[in-house]
Amino acid sequence: MSKGIGCLAVGRKAGLGSEEKLPVTGDPIELGAAFASLAAGDLEALAVIYDACANDLFGLALWRTGSREDAADAVQEVFVRLAGRPGHIARVRNARAYLLAMAHNAAVDILKRRRKTVEAQDAVLEPVTADHDGSADVGRLSSLLLRLPAVQREAVWLRHFAELSFTEIGAATGVPIFTAASRYRLGLRRLRKLLGVER
């Protein structure tokens, strides 16, 4: 794994302790360099990009689909598409936003293709450490998250875990900024209500 553009970075906005890490796509310059290498035909860059962003892409797809299997398929689809059109990625300015948008599109495509009548219920959260005291709470929070509409859940993930602005969330999911912000706020409000902490 390339540590230079590792996917894990200390969460800034969430105000977490230094030992707690959030998945935040790494150094945009390094990621941009990996994109340039791939565009030039260097397939080794795929591994660098994967190591930098796969967890982020998996997380986004998991929160959108609610299924680990679908999320894994979405990640694979992102990389297949990425490798299949190197000419396109040569013109990409923001590699991180581009990848997240691809993951969103892949997840949506997979959901459309499978047309599931019953939503998957895989855990979308896990404790940072195995001996975390609040494992039960994490499990409950995860199950409550799955009761949110997928678009709201996705917006919450993009805002909280990927630390995107509403402008970036809108760009990644193909909706106006106002819609992205509304989805996030509605999702959080609903989650708080489900948790019983709504004022």
């Binding site: 969430a14 707690e20 190591d51 998991l62 680990r68 694979q76 994490v138």
Partner: protein
Amino acid sequence: MRRDLFSGTRTPRTPDDLRERTLRAARAAARDASAASSPPWGFSRLDLAWMAALLVLVLCHALLSLSSRPPAAPSTAPQANTAATQLERELGLKGPIVVASGRETGKNGNTQGELIKELERL
């Protein structure tokens, strides 16, 4: 608020086997794309499509030009000249017949051939 909700949590990691599976599929896709977009002779499929379209266009143009051209009418001018000269000699005429050669002449727009026929009837 976000800290309260999500502190101590993270998104599940990717499955262990996903990396190898994904990279293998991506490399295969890259090879396929490369093979499809650059044939050995160096033209892309788009280039070939353009060339084929241009070739068809040129061929169609050539075919239409050939088929729409009217059949070449046999020229009567040399025969007419010969006949006119003969008539000049036989009838002792000069001028008008020879001048009319090769163009429409007369009040009714008679052609030279018709004029000769008229003269022959005399």
